[in-house]
Symmetry: C2
Subunit: 289 residues, 2 copies
């Protein structure tokens, strides 16, 4: 078209597509262009604002590397990551929540009753529960990939003081479907604000805080993988998670216990010798369709 | 909100904003989030597709550098760059068109009647015209920043054979508002397809061609800067420019002339000794509001 106009450009865009374009690709790109064009029209986007947007994307590209995922963080603070989670979460199983940019592969095995806190100080937390199907039957051999920040609020990949797999572990459930481990109580922390996403938060007057949480990815043969997080009900940021990750069913309560208390089926292996908080949380998986 | 849902997340997003957010920032971010969320909902965007999108952005970041602007190219092939141009182009002056990712600053001065082709072979083109205001009065002292590809279809920044300012020049109009220079006839060329934007073009069955053109940025005191391109009417890609840059009033005609012909007011300075094509194109600037 030599007479492309602000009104017909979305139609022209679709006319350029090849005849044998994958139908899903066509659908996604048509919606993407339609909304992108409507956004520019709605706000009458200026050249200067367009340039700011390009500079933002270039800066996000420059700061990104194997462990810093600024585009994931952008998606997180814009609510896109949570929206995609919620669109596919369903209601039969435990809600999913954002993966976040700090998951790493290959975490070491964490035996049942094992300890993730090592030499770190902080309030001791024992997290445990049962992995079940939607009917509540325990799932044996489920794999739970667990990660959290150290007490300084940093994940291992952000912190030179920690080794690669600090506060990371993978636990496999036994015949009773139970999981359990000791760690330190997670802390509220800020998402990284030293990059362009931090600039967006500052420009919109938003805080960068996330409520404290444990990350879980739960996998079991025959079930949909579950990417989720669990949050204590007393966290001050529970109702204003900057990445929109909190769901009602992912909120749990810390129960204080003396060191003599042993949760049902949980072998403390001698790693907990002081009063601790207990977070009991069951993880309910949905069968594959 | 601990009960963020797929339906209320856009409202929650806006509630997170600080009270003293710049009103324009609020307007732009609200529209951006509204359309981004609507896109994800409309197509029921999957986690896999979201991951593909993140990988795309990360790959675009990795390939970008001072001379390779993959995010600009993305904006171009999605029609966003042209749409922003058209939203602010108006109808009183010459239409604007996409800047493209290959403009560089600091081009050398090109005197009136000067030559940009140097030692390059190819059909000789003489481009000339008058810079005027909207009433047709010549504008003296207007600065025209000119750039194009070499006959191999590559801009200097893409081509090790060319020096930095090959086929780049800045000309200033005299009292009669005239500009004029000799060069070689621009060729149709493909946008870079070795990056992630090339993957999008292939996945949607689109060709990567742009019709041949000369780029101009025209600046004059008291007038809105004009970023534009001019296109010959015989180019096979005129009606399917992959970056949507063609506007009806930016199409011109090449007129063949013998070397003895001298366009009105044009001093060939001895640089044209063979038959040439003449592209006469006036550039009409809009006064600053």
């Amino acid at each position: 078209m030599r007479n492309v106009t602000a009104d017909n450009i979305t139609d022209v865009f679709m006319k350029y597509f090849g005849a044998d374009t994958d139908p899903r690709m066509r659908e996604v790109m048509k919606s993407l262009a339609t909304h992108l064009h409507a956004f520019a029209r709605d706000v009458n986007l200026t050249h200067d604002e367009w340039r700011q947007g390009i500079k933002f994307l270039e800066a996000a590209g420059r700061i990104s590397n194997e462990t810093r995922h600024e585009f994931v963080l952008l998606s997180d603070v814009l609510g896109l990551s949570s929206l995609v989670d919620m669109l596919h979460s369903g209601t039969e199983g435990t809600s999913s929540s954002v993966l976040g940019p700090f998951h790493i592969s290959g975490s070491p095995s964490l035996p049942f009753g094992g300890d993730m806190k090592r030499h770190y100080d902080g309030e001791v937390l024992v997290a445990c529960g049962t992995v079940t199907d939607t009917a509540g039957n325990p799932i044996a051999g489920a794999e739970i990939d667990i990660w959290q920040t150290a007490p300084n609020g940093l994940y291992s990949s952000q912190d030179e003081e920690q080794d690669t797999f600090s506060f990371h572990g993978i636990q496999t459930t036994g015949p009773d479907g139970r999981y359990g481990f000791s760690t330190v109580k997670p802390v509220s922390y800020t998402v990284p604000t030293d990059g362009p996403v931090g600039d967006i938060l500052r420009a919109t007057g938003r805080h960068p805080w996330r409520p404290s949480h444990l990350h879980y990815i739960v996998k079991a043969a025959g079930f949909r993988p579950l990417v989720t997080e669990i949050f204590p009900d007393d966290d001050p940021y529970l109702d204003q998670d900057t990445v929109f990750g909190v769901r009602g069913d992912l909120v749990m309560k810390y129960a204080p216990h003396p060191p003599e208390f042993f949760p049902n089926g949980y072998e403390l292996s001698g790693s907990v010798k002081e009063p601790f908080l207990l977070a009991e949380f069951d993880l309910r998986l949905v069968p594959l369709a």
